[in-house]
C-alpha cells in the first residue's frame, strides 16, 4: 500500500494506535459481553471461561487489553481536550508524551499486579 510510504509524526502514530486499540478493545468487548451473558445462560461454561482468564495466557491477554484500554482512554482524553480547547493543539505532541508517562506510571504496576500470580503460583 502506497500509504505506508508516508512518514507520519506523533499525531499519526497517536491516531494509528488509537484506532488499533479501539478496534482491539471492541473485539474483546464482543467476547466479554458474550461471556457475561453466560452468567445467566450457562454458569458452568462461564466458570470455565474464567479459568481461562486466570491462566497465564489469559493474564497476558488481559494485560494487553488493559494496555489498549489505558492508551485509548488517555489518548481519547487528549483528543477531547483538543476538541474543546483548540489552542491546545499547539502542544499536541507534549500531550501525547504526557499520556505515555501516565501510561507507564499506571500501567507498569497494573501489569505487575495482573501478571504476578503467574510466577507467584495463583491459588
Amino acid at each position: 500500500m502506497r500509504y505506508l510510504q508516508y512518514r507520519g509524526g506523533e499525531g499519526m502514530l497517536a491516531w494509528a494506535f488509537h484506532r488499533i486499540s479501539g478496534v482491539a478493545i471492541w473485539a474483546f468487548i464482543l467476547l466479554h459481553v458474550l461471556d457475561i451473558w453466560l452468567v445467566g445462560a450457562n454458569r458452568g461454561l462461564y466458570d470455565d471461561v474464567l479459568k481461562f482468564y486466570a491462566s497465564p495466557v489469559g493474564r497476558v491477554g488481559e494485560t494487553l487489553v488493559g494496555a489498549a484500554l489505558l492508551y485509548h482512554a488517555l489518548n481519547g482524553l487528549r483528543i477531547i481536550v483538543m476538541d474543546f480547547w483548540p489552542a491546545t493543539t499547539v502542544f499536541h505532541k507534549q500531550l501525547w508524551y504526557a499520556s505515555w508517562v501516565v501510561f507507564v506510571v499506571v500501567g507498569l504496576p497494573g501489569a505487575y499486579i495482573i501478571l504476578r500470580p503467574i510466577w507467584a503460583g495463583a491459588s
Partner: protein, 129 residues
C-alpha cells in the same frame, strides 16, 4: 459534498447525525474513562479473575442495585461507543454496497450484544439472603 452554485450561496447538505455521533463519542468516552477504567481496575487490581466465579458475580456484584446500574451503564456506553467507533472505521475503509451491508451488520450485532448484556445484568433474580 455540498454543490457550489455560482449564483452565490451553496446548498448545504449537513445533517445532524454526524454531529450527534461526534457528541456521543466524546460524552461516552468521558463516561467510559471512569466506568471502563474503574471496572478494569476493580476486576483486576482489587480482585483477581481467579476469584471471580459466577457465584461471586451473582452474589456480590449483582447483589446490589447500584452495581447493576453501574454495570448496565458501562454496557450501554461501551456498546454505543465501540460500535459507533467501529462504524467510523468501517465507513473509512469501505465503499458503496459493502459499506451499507457492513454498517447494518454492525448495528445488528450491536443491538444483539446490548440485549444479551442487559439480560445478564438486569434479568437475573437477586440472590435470596
Amino acid at each position: 459534498m455540498a454543490v457550489y452554485t455560482p449564483s452565490g450561496r451553496a446548498r448545504p447538505h449537513g445533517s445532524g447525525f454526524e454531529l450527534g455521533v461526534w457528541y456521543l463519542m466524546r460524552l461516552s468516552g468521558l463516561a467510559l474513562f471512569v466506568l471502563a477504567l474503574g471496572h478494569f481496575s476493580i476486576t483486576h487490581f482489587f480482585f483477581d479473575p481467579a476469584n471471580e466465579t459466577s457465584q461471586w458475580i451473582v452474589d456480590e456484584r449483582w447483589g446490589s442495585v447500584l452495581w447493576r446500574t453501574v454495570d448496565w451503564l458501562l454496557l450501554t456506553m461501551v456498546v454505543l461507543h465501540s460500535f459507533m467507533g467501529v462504524r467510523t472505521v468501517v465507513q473509512d475503509y469501505t465503499h458503496g454496497g459493502a459499506r451499507t451491508a457492513l454498517t447494518m451488520l454492525l448495528y445488528l450485532t450491536g443491538i444483539a450484544l446490548f440485549l444479551m448484556g442487559t439480560m445478564a445484568v438486569m434479568t437475573l433474580p437477586f440472590p435470596v439472603k
